[in-house]
Amino acid sequence: MEAYIAQGMHGLAYGMVLFLVASGLTLVLGMMGVLNMAHVNFFMLSAYLGYQVVAWTGSFWLALLIAPLLTAGAGILMERFLLKKVHAFGPMAELILTMGVAFIISDGVKAVWGTQNLPLSPPGSLSVLVNIAGVQYPAYRLFLIGLAVAILLLMALVLYKTRLGMIVRAAVADAGMVDALGINVPLVFMTVFGAGTWMAGVAGVAIAPILTVSPGLAAQMGMDAFIVIIVGGFGSLGGAFLVAILCGLLSAFGVQFLPQYASVLLFVFMAVVLAIKPEGLFGEKES
């Protein structure tokens, strides 16, 4: 029984982080119709930046604050100076452009930090075990879940309770109309892109103590994040949330029961969903 709880908590923690990454991806996709292949590379970049900040200052909290902001800055630069320029050439060009950026980031990271695994230890106050329902559980993972929930609530608050959130939601539905109403849609795009990469950045630093920082980080998270947005339905935040948690649990229990094929399980799950609903669980039908 204890094993179930522990694995369940693991899955929940991973699912939450997965959602932090996938939500930015799905928001940008829904709003701008751009699938940002470099999104998970920003996630990885942030983990490395976090490692660097810790190496210089020794403070994990500072890393958690600074690295995601730097990452968001890089994301905004990419949106402003690259993505915007190829927008006229259609979604294929944008997809290929982001793919190129993904390659540049992943090779750049290797050139700067090398290919070995870099450890990033959680702050001392969180590297203890806590007792939950009779299970000794690392406090850091609890903090991770808490952090993800806090960001989620913040995002929900902004999206559903503020004017900016209203504009964003309207732009997801019909960017042209919002533009026609006199709202500066490119600025909104840039904000959302920045926020999306910021969330990926937070996820990158936050998960680094668990997974260690390595060039494989992007591929590891990338596939899962893409599956989440495919299965959840493009542009659907609720779908992404549900599927991210489901994916986290599926991979956690998969590792326990079918260790050999845990990585295949998610793909099977995706294929089954798509065979029944090609637009994803909560996606809108293509017209």
Binding site: F89, G100, F103, I105, I230
Partner: protein, 354 residues
């Protein structure tokens, strides 16, 4: 006059290819086969991207399945000749395409690309895990290369030189087949679907069915390219067959050469082969180091040139091409030709609106 010129050019081209291994040796002959393999792979991708408007971000799965199909057949069927092995690889890819088609033909655009990424990754993971069949990371070797055996009547040993002719002939045949395929009425429906699939539907053509057929053809020829690749390398491993980079290669070739033309991807593949050779042999690094050390202190120059590894350059090319050359070389040439003609018509230099 013009006709004669074209025939002479054709004859010269054929003669150049026929003499190629004698003139340049095995190393460059193999490089030419590799280029031909990439060209076929890129054209098969462009059948979807350029002609039908569907971007497959996981075409490696057909390339890899063709490669593994041929390699597995040769390892398990004793005395199999080279032609059936290649055909088995191709059929394996077609079967995979027909299995996946029902899932992907209903979507297009980004969703289509994403699904391919996911399925290609699934095959990558499977090929790694099913160690007993695929050999995992080590892959499977094809040694010795099988003979060409036509019903026991004709038996040709596949040494490097004969394999060169075999590969070039097979790929040239495949490329000409695809060229005629795009010229058939069916090929015109493909283009129509790219431009306005709804209208093609109203005209009474079955859009999803047509997509599935194009899809299977594209997958099959990617598989053929993969099978020849496996025979060329005498070894196929998961990373060479199914990794994401393999899916990106043909996209890059198509982008370099131009989406809207049949020959664009072939030119792109030539570019790519040259770049690959240039970087792979280390010449690019040396040149870069030399240039940089003129400007920077040597330790810094070394560091900066180390920065430009293969994937970095790949990424930079992808970004620069999409930014400044979105229609590739073919688009660039078409634009220049159009400007030239406009200048001739208006009788003076003129800035075009673009």
């Amino acid at each position: 006059m013009k006709r004669n010129l074209i025939w002479t050019l054709w004859a010269a081209g054929v003669a150049a290819v026929a003499l190629f291994p004698h003139l340049f040796g095995v190393y460059y002959a193999n490089a030419l086969i590799l280029f031909a393999v990439w060209a076929l792979f890129a054209v098969s991708l462009n059948l979807l991207l350029g002609f039908t408007g569907l971007l497959s971000f996981g075409h490696a799965m057909y390339f890899g399945t063709g490669a593994y199909g041929a390699a597995l057949a040769l390892n398990h069927i004793k005395g199999l000749s080279i032609v059936p092995a290649v055909i088995i690889g191709m059929i394996a890819a077609v079967i995979l395409a027909l299995l996946i088609a029902p899932l992907v033909v209903r979507v297009s655009g980004t969703a289509f690309a994403m699904l391919h990424l996911a399925f290609a990754q699934l095959l990558y993971v499977l090929a790694l895990k099913l160690r007993s069949i695929t050999g995992g990371e080590d892959g499977i070797s094809i040694y010795p290369r099988p003979d060409l055996n036509i019903f026991g009547l004709l038996r040709i040993e596949m040494n490097d030189q004969n394999f060169f002719y075999f590969a070039v002939i097979v790929i040239a045949a495949a490329l000409s087949f695809l060229w005629f395929f795009t010229k058939t009425p069916f090929g015109q429906i493909m283009v129509g679907m790219r431009d306005n699939s709804k209208r093609i539907g109203y005209l009474g053509f079955k859009v999803t069915y047509t997509k599935a057929v194009v899809y299977a053809v594209s997958g099959g020829f990617a598989g053929l390219a993969g099978a020849i690749y496996a025979l060329l390398q005498s070894l196929i491993s998961t990373n060479d067959a199914y990794s994401m980079v393999v899916s990106v290669y043909p996209i890059m070739m198509v982008m370099l050469g131009g989406v809207l033309s049949y020959f664009g991807p072939i030119v792109g593949a030539a570019f790519f082969a040259l770049i690959d050779e240039w970087i792979g042999s280390g010449q690019f690094q040396q040149l870069l180091l030399k240039l940089l050390s003129l400007l920077l202190p040597s330790s810094l120059a070394q560091r900066v040139s180390d920065f430009f590894q293969f994937e970095m350059i790949l990424g930079l090319i992808l970004v620069l091409v999409t930014l400044y050359w979105p229609l590739g070389l073919a688009g660039f040439i078409a634009l220049q030709r159009m400007r030239w003609q406009m200048r001739r018509v208006s009788g003076g230099p003129q800035r075009s609106a673009t």
